[in-house]
């Protein structure tokens, strides 16, 4: 799957997830994204950290809703009230809404995961629309400085400790923060010089292998955009309203047409026609 097709797919899948509060469609998008990731994942990229992060996010949503929302008609348990707001009724509806919120988080995470898991940052930035290209590069460079700053802090701290430094009040932290700040400034200057040496900002850039719109990439992107448009339209015209489990849990309504629209996202996950090389 080409990076620009992946960008269109991820953006559309995210729109679908955010346009519906129905857990059925969210689960569909999450399963499609998982299939896509498993199919296109490079051998050196692992899915376990992503799944772990999604699991933690979903579990946190369930726990938070169980603890903080006490509405609903089906009582499961009653928590004591040592902490205001936490104690009270634990209901089936709260559990269901926590699962719905968690499904939204997981689906959104999986929708944008192909961008970071399947491609290098440079490939993604290169596919941004031209007005966003320089902003994207600046944002990517800034984000890259965060881990560099953490590494600089660790190394400076180790070096100072070896020289006998110990934390003794706020003033002693200056011995760490000043070198870390200077290192960050130096890294930024070096990065700017490197980018300038590579003609950043000089206008049209050349690429070794420019990405092109192949028929498969067009199919993937168009199908994904249509899926997003269908969900937005359904919401705009009131055909797809938010669903909540309160006051008493009921099954959310499911529209076959929206399931079909969700499945438009599944093109890149299918085994034909070898999208790894052509899309």
């Amino acid at each position: 799957m080409r990076p620009r097709a992946a960008l269109a797919w991820s953006a559309s899948a995210l729109v679908v997830v955010l346009a519906t509060g129905n857990p059925v469609y969210r689960v569909l998008v999450a399963l499609i994204a998982l299939n896509l990731l498993v199919r296109h994942r490079p051998a050196d990229r692992r899915l376990r950290p992503l799944l772990l992060a999604g699991g933690i996010a979903g579990f946190s949503a369930v726990i938070l809703n169980l603890a903080l929302s006490h509405s609903g008609g089906h009582l499961l348990a009653t928590l004591p009230q040592p902490v205001p707001g936490i104690g009270g009724a634990v209901t089936l509806e709260s559990l269901a809404y926590g699962l719905v919120a968690g499904s939204g988080l997981v689906a959104a995470l999986l929708a944008v995961a192909p961008i970071s898991l399947l491609y290098e940052p440079a490939d993604v930035v290169a596919e941004l629309p031209r007005p966003l290209e320089r902003t994207g590069v600046a944002a990517a460079a800034s984000l890259n400085l965060v881990p560099a700053l953490a590494r600089a802090y660790t190394s400076v701290r180790e070096a100072q400790v070896m020289r006998g430094w110990r934390p003794r009040g706020p003033r002693s932290w200056a011995d760490l923060l000043v070198p870390v700040a200077l290192t960050a400034v130096e890294d930024s200057v070096q990065l700017a010089e490197a980018m300038e040496a590579r003609a950043f900002g000089a206008g049209t850039r050349s690429r070794l292998r420019p990405d092109r719109w192949t028929p498969a990439a067009v199919l993937i992107a168009v199908a994904a955009v249509v899926a997003a448009a269908v969900f937005l339209g359904a919401r705009f015209f009131g055909l797809e309203a938010d669903w909540y489990p309160y006051p008493e849990l009921t099954l959310p309504p499911v529209t076959p047409a929206l399931i079909v629209a969700s499945l438009l996202l599944a093109f890149p996950a299918l085994p034909w026609p070898s999208p790894r090389s052509t899309a």
Partner: protein, 261 residues
């Protein structure tokens, strides 16, 4: 902040409407003699988003009762969420069908609350339903309005006798609404049947079925459809098959490489 403002708006929405007499708004139920037992009486007017209006007359013997008691005694179905500063009304007569855990969002419609004192026009309330009190001749009004707000419901004195009891058979309630959860506007005034003397101290003015005793928030049965026991719709069958197929395909992709080894 927005939610707090919305809660305040429950009692602050504007509007004074008409006189106390027989309101003749579109879809409104014509008031009939409720003859609710009790030394004092208060009216309850509920206007759905569709324009359908329910009216109730609540009888009580104490000097005043709270808005929460008016709702409970009326027998109308209603749901609320408890906040530190009182209760927020989330659902009345099954509208809306479902609501978020905080009762409403910044963009969702909500039940706006109005208060009428001694037959005067609707006014706003600076208290919530659980703290606002009502005396003889007062009225509590609700209108399901968009997030941008809306007008007050028609001012109807549900306790005013305008028609003699027309039937000795128990009145019947309207059929539960369809999937929208909004009851249809009554096409003709409900007969003002005289409730038996031992009947409860409430008497909804549109009540085609035997009036249930004041049972808190029970009200009439919920609208059909969507419930867990309603059976699987075709959409759910398609969804189950699709989810099963995607999960199976995922399993196959994950397991196949290990089988090849």
């Amino acid at each position: 902040m927005i939610r707090a403002a919305r809660l305040a708006a429950l009692g602050i929405a504007a509007a004074a409407a008409g006189g106390l007499a027989l309101a003749a708004s579109g879809g409104a139920a014509r008031p009939v003699c409720a003859q609710a037992a009790g030394a004092h009486h208060a009216s309850l007017v509920v206007e759905h988003s569709s324009g359908a209006v329910l009216t109730f007359c609540v009888g009580f013997d104490t000097a005043t009762i709270t808005g929460e008691q008016v709702m409970d005694l009326s027998g109308v179905e209603w749901q609320s969420v408890q906040y530190s500063f009182g209760k927020a009304v989330c659902q009345i007569d099954y509208e809306p069908r479902t609501y978020p855990p905080g009762c409403f969002t910044s963009s969702s419609p909500y039940w706006a609350m109005f208060v009428s004192r001694q037959g005067h026009g609707w006014g706003t309330s600076n208290l919530g339903v659980s703290a606002q009190t009502f005396a003889d001749g007062d009225a509590l009004g609700w209108h399901f309005v968009p997030s941008t707000g809306g007008a007050a419901p028609p001012l109807i004195n549900a306790c005013q006798a305008v028609a003699p009891p027309a039937a000795t058979t128990p009145p019947s309630r309207p059929a539960p609404p369809a999937a929208t959860g909004v009851p249809p506007a009554p096409e003709s005034p409900a007969p003002a049947a005289t409730p038996p003397e031992e009947s409860p101290t409430i008497s909804p003015t549109i009540s085609p079925t035997p009036i249930p005793p004041a049972s808190g928030r029970a009200g009439r049965p919920p609208p059909a459809g969507g419930g867990a026991g309603a059976g699987l719709s075709p959409g759910w069958v398609v969804a189950a098959l699709t989810i099963g197929a995607l999960a199976g395909w995922l399993l196959l992709q994950a397991v196949a490489p290990h089988i090849r080894r």
